[in-house]
């Protein structure tokens, strides 16, 4: 008999096999956001992959053209459903940019605090889900618990846990509740402690490290070429953060660092998220300090903001004003603008066109995930099939956002 350790080419194998095609998704548990990947395998190594998005399509942009500018808010809630408040704020800022108005400072701080809380949730969902898909269930539950603490604050403030619909053009739907600051101050350290605990469990675990370190690498140049933004870009070493580079709201007044990775692998993405949570905590603390306790959160412009309810009930001016805004919508001057904010996954842009009426002519979103998904292929080809799970998990693809 021949010795078994002779070197065989693939073609000379005793049982040559055609490349095997495996369908991952769209209903695979790890393919959250309904993505389908048609993977071609040679053994367990991926030789080719076809990433197909679009299984979650709601025609969001078209729907926005149906109602008034205000009626877009429930839709943007459902873009990145892991951090709806960031989308609310992003869209409100886009319309405000068009109108050429700036909300009062108190509202800016308020938006920042709510936005950063949402960012913490977003990062926790991503890191937690990724760990869970790798078999680490405990950190996920701890992160979910931390998230619960934040959702409680949101529920108290906005009236809903996830679909807040709380942003408004020219302000917020209502004032901060009287004990808003106390609630956030109580919740944030508890969240931080849970995150540190969960992270410790993961970073001491060699299995977790082996599965994320040097897996799913992406180079700086290619990431920029693909239009990546957010955590996934920063993990490759590019310190691009809209909050720093194009400060909006009051982000230029807070001290915070931008975490950057070195090699753009899963580990860097995971750690960048963890570090960003800590930076968000810093921002929240500073914003709480700087936010005034009194004052209006809405701009004082009767063409944009609904009048106070007492006026509507008792004065004719208030009633007419109210009817004008509800029935016709806010009249946004004709034109177009692109406005961008740092959402949970990266730069969330709204390109809006108005024809001067109360209804958007066109709302185009630039979802960060869409660009990220374009790089998926180069990250997983050449790796092993099980590596798809942490790689996909760490880019935090959100189906609702990818939808065009």
């Amino acid at each position: 008999m021949e010795p078994l350790d002779i070197e065989l080419d693939e073609g000379e194998l005793e049982f040559p096999s055609a490349p095997m095609q495996v369908n991952m998704g769209p209903a695979h548990p790890a393919m959250h956001g309904t993505v389908r990947m048609v993977v071609e395998l040679s053994g367990e190594t991926i030789t080719k992959v076809d990433v197909q998005i679009g299984y979650l399509h709601r025609g969001f942009e078209k729907m926005c053209e149906r109602g008034t500018w205000t009626q877009v808010f429930p839709y943007v809630d459902r873009l990145n459903y892991a951090s709806p408040m960031l989308n609310n704020v992003g869209f409100a800022l886009a319309v405000e940019k068009m109108l050429g108005v700036t909300v009062p400072e108190r509202c800016q701080h308020y938006r920042v605090i709510l936005g950063e809380l949402a960012r913490i949730c977003d990062h926790m969902v991503c890191s937690g889900a990724m760990a869970m898909e790798l078999g680490a269930f405990t950190p996920f539950l701890w992160f979910a618990k931390a998230r619960e603490l934040i959702w409680d604050v949101f529920e108290e403030e906005t009236g809903a846990r996830v679909t807040h619909s709380f942003g408004r053009v020219g302000g917020m739907a209502s004032e901060p509740t009287p004990n808003f600051k106390a609630m956030v101050r109580a919740a944030v350290p508890a969240v931080r402690a849970l995150i540190d605990d969960g992270e410790k469990l993961l970073l001491g675990n060699r299995i977790f490290l082996d599965r994320v370190e040097n897996v799913g690498r992406m180079s700086k140049e290619r990431a920029i070429a693909l239009g990546w933004t957010g955590v996934v870009l920063r993990s490759t070493g590019v310190p691009y953060d809209v909050r720093k580079v194009h400060p909006y709201l009051t982000y230029d007044r807070y001290e915070f660092d931008v975490p950057v990775g070195t090699s753009g692998d899963n580990f860097d993405r995971f750690m960048c998220r963890q570090e960003e949570i800590r930076q968000s905590v810093r921002i929240i603390e500073q914003a709480l300090e700087q936010m005034a306790d009194e004052g209006s959160v809405n701009i004082n412009d009767p063409r944009i903001v609904l009048p106070p309810k007492e006026e509507v009930y008792s004065t004719i001016e208030g009633t007419i004003q109210h009817f004008k805004i509800v029935m016709e919508g806010i009249k946004v001057p004709a034109g177009e603008c692109y406005s961008y904010t740092e959402a949970g996954n990266g730069e969330l842009g709204f390109y809006i066109v108005s024809d001067g009426s109360g209804t958007p002519y066109r709302v185009r979103i630039r979802p960060p995930c869409f660009a990220t998904m374009q790089g998926m292929e180069s990250m997983i080809v050449g790796g092993m099939l099980p590596d798809v799970v942490p790689t996909f998990g760490s880019v935090n693809m959100i189906g609702g956002e990818c939808d065009h």
């Binding site: 009626q71 619960e148 529920e155 739907a173 400060p247 975490p259």
Partner: protein, 223 residues
């Protein structure tokens, strides 16, 4: 209104962006050997497990809502345990009433216009001949909310100029077994009260039907 350049985005800072470089994983011998770290991690999770079990067995389970910062089990065992809903919680709708039991709603259609889900259906009607309110205001002969289509955004409440529709029942949407049970018409909506059981209103107007209303004195022509 013209598009003007405001301080919406501020100029980028001159100084380089302060960055924090992420360290590579610290693979100490303990981590590489797996077992010592595994034991440590298991000790942590087991400690939580035994603590929680003990609290449960001894009936000392901490309140998952009121004591949620202090550890313990987070699971709320609905329906035995319930979260108290916050004041702003947007629950099921209700229509508010005047003192004589008629709906406060004047069928102005603001709410159905503002509703992004288009789930409110209103048919406005005039009061009957001889009613003093005829020609003064209308009422909804049909007022239907499809709670299945509703996205609970609260725009209808914001849009109502009469404080006629509210979402302060403190009840979350119920689960029924057929779709028509989700269609709430005005008798159902009117029968619901606020979470404190009251029907008080923020609307300071004295409307026909309220006991404080001075009465309609205008002479009306027949319409």
């Amino acid at each position: 209104m013209t598009v003007s350049q405001t301080s919406w985005t501020k100029p980028a800072p001159r100084s380089p962006v302060p960055t924090k470089v992420i360290a590579r994983p610290n693979r100490t011998p303990q981590v590489q050997a797996y077992v010592p770290e595994w034991l440590k991690g298991t000790a942590v999770t087991m400690r939580h497990f035994f603590e929680n079990t003990k609290e449960r067995m001894l009936g000392q389970k901490r309140d998952p809502v009121l004591e949620n910062f202090e550890g313990g089990i987070t699971t709320i065992e609905y329906p035995e345990e319930r979260r108290p809903y916050p004041d702003r919680f947007r629950g099921l709708h209700r229509l508010t009433m005047r003192d004589d039991g008629s709906p406060r709603c004047v069928a102005c259609l603001c709410c159905s216009t503002a509703c992004p889900a288009q789930c409110i259906h209103i048919e406005p009607a005039e009061y009957a001949e001889g009613d003093e309110r005829r020609g003064y205001e209308r009422y909804p002969s049909v007022f239907v909310i499809d709670e299945l289509r509703c996205v609970f955004c609260g725009f209808c409440v914001e849009a109502c100029p009469c404080d006629a529709i509210r979402m302060d029942t403190g009840m979350h949407p119920a689960a029924y077994d057929s779709r028509d049970q989700f269609i709430y018409d005005s008798p159902i909506l009117l029968s619901m009260v606020g979470r404190d059981g009251s029907r008080k209103t923020e609307n300071a107007r004295h409307e026909p039907g309220d006991s404080t209303h001075p009465g309609v004195t205008r002479k009306h022509e027949a319409h």
